[in-house]
Symmetry: D2
C-alpha cells in the first residue's frame, strides 16, 4: 500500500486522478493540494465527490486542499498536475525525500532535450538533475525504464493516441517515416478547466473546428516518440480539432507503406492487422479491434483503453490507423496511475479495471 | 459468491447490468441471453466490452449469448431486462428452481394490483403466485422486505427519481399530497436501444421536448409510491421531457407545504434540509446536498447516487425538491445490483462504489 | 426605410440583432458599437459575419465598432443590448434626439415600478421620465401601446415563453392565479457570451441542472405580466434549468383550472385548445399546435415563432401548457425587431420571415 | 418567377429544399411529393413547417404530398431528392416536358461514366440520353455549363467540401496530385432521416468515430473532380468521421506542395492565401478567411457559405487546407438552389442570402 498525493488536484487531470485513486486497492491515503483553493475542501469545488473522500464508501482522503509541500511530505507517490514549467521543484523535492513523482505536464516529456522544451513551452529548466533521470511515461514503449524510475513524465493526450496508433508499424520499419500525417479530434476537456472562449459551450458546442494548425505543442513530442520507435528521423504533420463532446480523442493517422507488401488492399490489411495484434497481444490496455469494427471514442470512454484499427488504403500503398482513447484517462490520469503501478511493482491494472459503458 | 445471469442482455439496461456485474466482488460468473442475438458473442454487439468478458482483466463470462433457460439454470440470481409483460415465466421458473429474480420491467412493480398494470401496460398476468410474493425494489422504502424476497420488481427510472425526491416529506406528512407536480427531464437512453424517430440524433439532438403529457406509464407507479409513503391517497401530475444527452434524469418536484411551518422562506428551507439530511443520513446512495449547491446530472453520471436538494419557495408555502440520478444506474441497473446485494446479504455497496467523474 | 443602430453589438443578443437586421427589407444601414471592442471590425469578433456586413450580399454596415453616441446620432431606431442598469442614458438621448429605442435589458420592463427593479437588479433609476413613457415590448399583450411608443423595454426570454404559454387562460380568467408553476429549460446562450464556469462546455455539456431556484430575476416580471393579463394578483413559482444545447427555451406551466369545465380530461383539453387557437389566430408568431403534436425547441430554432400546446391533466382539473421558443429570437432579438416593425409602421413580419429548419 | 417541385420532399435534403424555396423571391409555387407519406400534409411530418406552407407568411405551397408525376407536371424546375438510382426516369420526363431537373442523388454526378457509378452504387442506367447531357452541379467549377443545362447532378456533401478546399491549388498545378489525403468530419444529418444504429443518439452522441475507411462512395467523386481540375490523374485517400452534431462538415486536406515555392513556412502560407483569395474573390459563397482565423462549422451553419483556410506546413513542403460548410446547405440543398438560380438566369444568390448565426 502506498500513500498518494496530487499537487494541482483541482484541475481536470487532478480531479480525474483523485477519482481513480479513490478506488485503487493499493492506495491507503490521498493528499491533495491546490493553490487556487487552498484551505477549502475538494468537494466544495467538485460536487461529484461530495461525501466520497472521507466516508464509509471510498474514504481515503480528508479532502482538505493543503499546500504542495504538505502533500509531498505525506505521500509516497506524488502526482503533479500543474501548468507547464512548474513541476521541477517538486521533482527535486521528491528525489531528495525518497518519493516517486509522476508529472502530468510537459516538463519531463523530453528527457534531457531542454532545447525542444524551451522552444515550444518558452521556459528553461532549473533542476537539470531531475531531467537526467526522468523517464517518458508510455508503458507500451518504456515499461522497463518506468519500472526503475523515480521521476516519470506522463505523455500528452494527443501524443499517446497517435503514438500507439503507429507504434507497431514504426517498430516494424514498414512505413515511410518522412510522410506521417496525424489528424486528431478531441473532446473539450482537453482545453482545461478554466473558462475561455475556446471551451465556452456556445462557441464549441454543435460545431467542429481546427486549431493550432502546424503549431501545436504536441507535435515535437509525437516526432520524438516516432523517431525513437523507428530509429529514424520522422516528419509528422499533426492537426488537432475540437469536437463537441467532453471526453475522447480519435486520431486518424496516415503513412505510406514502405515495406515488402504484395497482394490486394484486403490482403495487406489483414497482414497489418496480424502485425498489430501480435505486437499488442500482451498489452493490458491496447485493444486491436476485430475485423469489421471501426473505433469510436464512446467505446473507451471513462476507461484506460486505447482501441485501434488499421487499414491498408490507396490500393494497399498506404497505412491508415484509427486510434481512440479517453483523453483524461489513457490520455492523462489513467496512464499516470498505470505508470505508478509499474513503478511500485503493483499489478499494472490495479485500480484501472474500468469497464467502458455502452453509452 | 454467486453466479449471476442477465436475460435480455443486449438491451441498454441489460448491458449496463453486465458492466456492473463484471466488477462485482461477489459475482463469480455471468451468463447472458438475448433473443435477438442468440449464439453471438455479446462483444459483437457491444464493442465497449471487447476482450472484457473473458480475459485476464475482469473475465467472468464467456460472453456467448445463450437461451434464457440456460441462463436460469446456470445462475443463482437472475436479472430480467425484457419488454414489459414477458418476465413472469422466468420468475416462476426461478421460484421453482430456488433462484432469485430481479426484474427490470414494470411487471413486478405493482404488487398484487393487476388492474393498474393491465390498464397501463395492456397485459394480463399469467403467474399470480409470483406477483403475490414480489417486492418493490426501492431500498430506501422497502429494504427489509427486499432482504427476504425471492422476486423483486425494480422501479422505473423516473419513478425512483421522483420518489426519492419527495420521500422524507411524504413520511413526515408535511405536504399536501393532493397537489404534487413532478417535472422530469431525461437523457435519451431512457428511450431504449432500438432506433426510432424519438432517439434519432437529428430529431432529439440540440432540442428539448415534452412527451407523454398526462399519459406516461410511470405516473401510476409514482402515485403508488407516494401514497404508500404518505399513508394517504396522492395526486401526481407527471411530465417527462427529453433532453439532448445520453444519461441522466433531473426531476423538479413541487408540493404545497401542509405542516406546521413558520418563519421566512430561508428558515423553512433550512428546516426542510435538516429533515432530508436526517432522513437520508444512513442511506449509502442518497446525498442531500450542502447549502448553496444545486443538483446536476453530471455529478452522479455513471454512479448509483441520487443527489437531492430541497427548497421552500413561494414565500415558504411550497416545497420544491430537485433530484438527479443516472437513469441507467440508480434508475435501473445499479438499483438492481443494490437489490441483489440486499437479497444475498452482501454489503449493500458491493460493486457499486462508482465515483462520478467531474465531467 | 430606417437606419438602425445596435449599442452593445458584441454580446449575443447584439450580434443576433445584427444578423436579423442585415436581411431586413426596411433597414438601409446598421451602425454598431461595443465598449469592449471599440475600433475593431465586428467580423473580427464574429467570423460568421465575415464579408457580410459591407459587401455585395447583405452589406448595410461598415461593421466598424463605433461609440454609443455615434450610433445614436447615425440611427433612427436604436437597440441597446447592454448590462442591466446602463441603458437609461441612451433612452434619454434618444428621446431628446427624436429617435426610437428598444432596450433588451431589464431596465424598461417594469414601467414605473422602480421598487421592483431595484429589489431584483440592485440599481436605481436616474432618468425617471424615460421610464414614465416606456412600454413593455410584448406585442401579444401591448401591440397598440408599442405602436405609439418611443421607448420599449424588450421582455426577458423565459418571461416571454411563460407569458405566452398562459396568456389565453389568464385573459379568460379560467385558472387559479394563486398557484401557477412555471418550469423552464433553457439552452446555454441564455447565460451570455462571457466565459464562466456556468457556460463552460465540460461543466454544462451532457448534463442538466437547476439554478436560481426561487430566486431568478425573471420571476417578478412573469408575475407582473400574469397579474396584468388576469387583472388579479398572481403567484408564480418559477424554476429555470440549464440544458446542453445552444438555443431554445421550453417552459412547462401548471395552473389549476378554476373555470366552468365539465366532461372528461379529453373534452376539457379540446376546449382549452379551441380557446388557445381562437386567442392566437391572428398572431403572426404564435402557433398553437395540432392535436397529437408536442412542442420541441428544434421546431422553432432560429425563428421568431413560439409554439404552444395545452392540455387538461389531473383528471381535467389542471391546465398544463408547454411553450417553446428560441431564447435569442422570440426571446430577445427577434422580438425586438418585431417591436421595431410595430413602432415604425412596417409589416410586423418584415425581416422575420425565418423558417425553422427541421434539424 | 418559376414553379418549383420537390420529389422526395420528406427526406432531409427534401425538406431543407422546401425551407429554402419558401423564401425564394423567384419561386411562386412549390409542389411536393413523397412516396412514404403520399396524401398527407408535409407539416404532419415536419412540425417546423406548421402553418408556413400556405399562409400569410411564406405561403407558396398547399403542402399536400402528391405523386411525383403531379409534381413534374406542375413545376418548371424539379428537384429530385431520392435514393440513388431512382431519379433517371424523372430526368427523362423533364427533358420530354421541357422542364429542368436538379438531382440531389449520385445518379448524375458522373457524366457519362456509367462504369464508376455502377461500381460504387450497384445500379445500371436505363436512360443514357439524360446522362449524356447532364452537368455536374458545382458552380465554382462548371458555372457556364450549368447555365445551359437541363439536367444537373448535385454534388455529394463531402465532395463539395473537399473539392472547394483544394480547387485553387489543383488549378494552379502546385500540388502533388498523387498524394492527396482528405480527412472529413460530418454531422449526423449526413446519415439521413431513417432511424438506424448509426444515427441513434446514444450510439453517436458524445462520441466520434471513423467509418467507410477506404470505401466511401464519395471517394471516386472527389477523385473525378480533382482530376478534372488538375488535368492530371489524382489519388485521394478519403476518410469520413461522424461527430456529435446535427449539421456541418469540416474537411482537413493534405497535399505535398509541388510548385516553385521558397521561403519560410510563413511566407509560403501567405503566398497560398493570396492564391486562394484571388481564385475565389468573385465567388459569392466561398470565403477565404483572414489570417489568424481557423474555420469552424458553426460559422457557416444554416447558410450556403464554404469557409476555407490554407496553410503551408511541414516546413513549407505541404499544403494543408481546412474547409467547412453546412452539409445540408452548400453540401446539398443550398447548392441545388444555387444551381437553379444559374440555370434560370436569376441572381445567383437569390433565396440564399442566409446569414450564419454566431451560435
Amino acid at each position: 500500500m502506498i500513500r498518494a498525493g496530487v499537487i494541482g488536484a483541482t484541475g481536470y487531470a487532478g480531479v480525474e486522478l483523485v477519482r481513480l485513486l479513490l478506488n485503487h486497492p493499493q492506495v491507503s491515503h490521498i493528499s491533495v493540494s491546490s493553490v487556487s483553493f487552498e484551505g477549502q475542501h475538494i468537494t466544495d469545488i467538485y460536487a461529484n465527490l461530495f461525501q466520497l473522500c472521507s466516508g464509509t464508501l471510498c474514504g481515503k482522503s480528508a479532502g482538505i486542499l493543503e499546500t504542495a509541500d504538505e502533500v509531498v511530505s505525506e505521500s509516497d507517490v506524488v502526482f503533479t498536475a500543474l501548468p507547464h514549467g512548474t513541476a521541477e521543484k517538486y521533482a527535486d523535492a521528491c528525489i531528495r525525500e525518497g518519493k516517486k513523482l509522476i508529472d502530468l505536464s510537459a516538463d519531463f516529456r523530453f528527457g534531457r532535450n531542454e532545447a525542444v522544451f524551451k522552444q515550444w513551452y518558452k521556459k528553461s529548466w532549473e533542476y537539470p538533475a531531475a531531467h537526467e533521470e526522468s523517464v517518458y511515461g508510455l508503458p507500451e514503449m518504456y515499461r522497463e525504464q518506468i519500472r526503475g524510475a523515480r521521476i516519470v513524465g506522463n505523455p500528452g493526450c494527443y501524443v499517446t493516441s497517435v503514438t500507439l496508433g503507429l507504434l507497431p508499424a514504426l517498430k516494424a520499419g514498414c512505413i515511410d517515416t518522412g510522410r506521417i500525417i496525424a489528424d486528431s479530434k478531441s473532446g473539450v476537456t482537453g482545453a482545461g478547466r478554466s473558462p475561455t472562449m475556446t471551451n465556452q459551450f456556445c462557441e464549441c458546442g454543435e460545431s467542429v473546428s481546427a486549431y493550432g494548425v502546424g503549431a501545436h505543442r504536441h507535435q515535437p513530442e509525437i516526432v520524438q516518440n516516432c523517431s525513437q520507435a523507428a530509429g529514424l528521423p520522422c516528419t509528422v504533420v499533426f492537426t488537432p480539432h475540437l469536437v463537441p463532446m467532453s471526453r475522447g480523442i480519435l486520431s486518424t493517422i496516415y503513412a505510406p507503406l514502405a515495406g515488402d507488401f504484395s497482394g490486394s488492399a484486403g490482403e495487406i490489411t489483414a497482414e497489418l492487422r496480424n502485425m498489430y495484434r501480435a505486437f499488442y497481444q500482451h498489452e493490458p490496455f491496447v485493444r486491436v479491434l476485430a475485423d469489421a469494427k471501426n473505433p469510436a471514442t464512446r467505446n473507451v470512454r471513462g476507461s484506460n483503453y486505447c482501441d485501434i484499427q488499421v487499414y491498408a488504403v490507396a490500393n494497399g500503398t498506404m497505412l491508415e490507423a484509427v486510434s481512440v482513447l479517453d483523453n483524461m484517462v489513457k490520455g492523462a490520469s489513467g496512464q499516470a496511475v498505470q505508470n505508478m503501478n509499474i513503478m511500485c511493482g503493483f499489478d499494472e491494472t490495479a485500480g484501472l479495471q474500468l469497464i467502458p459503458a455502452a453509452f
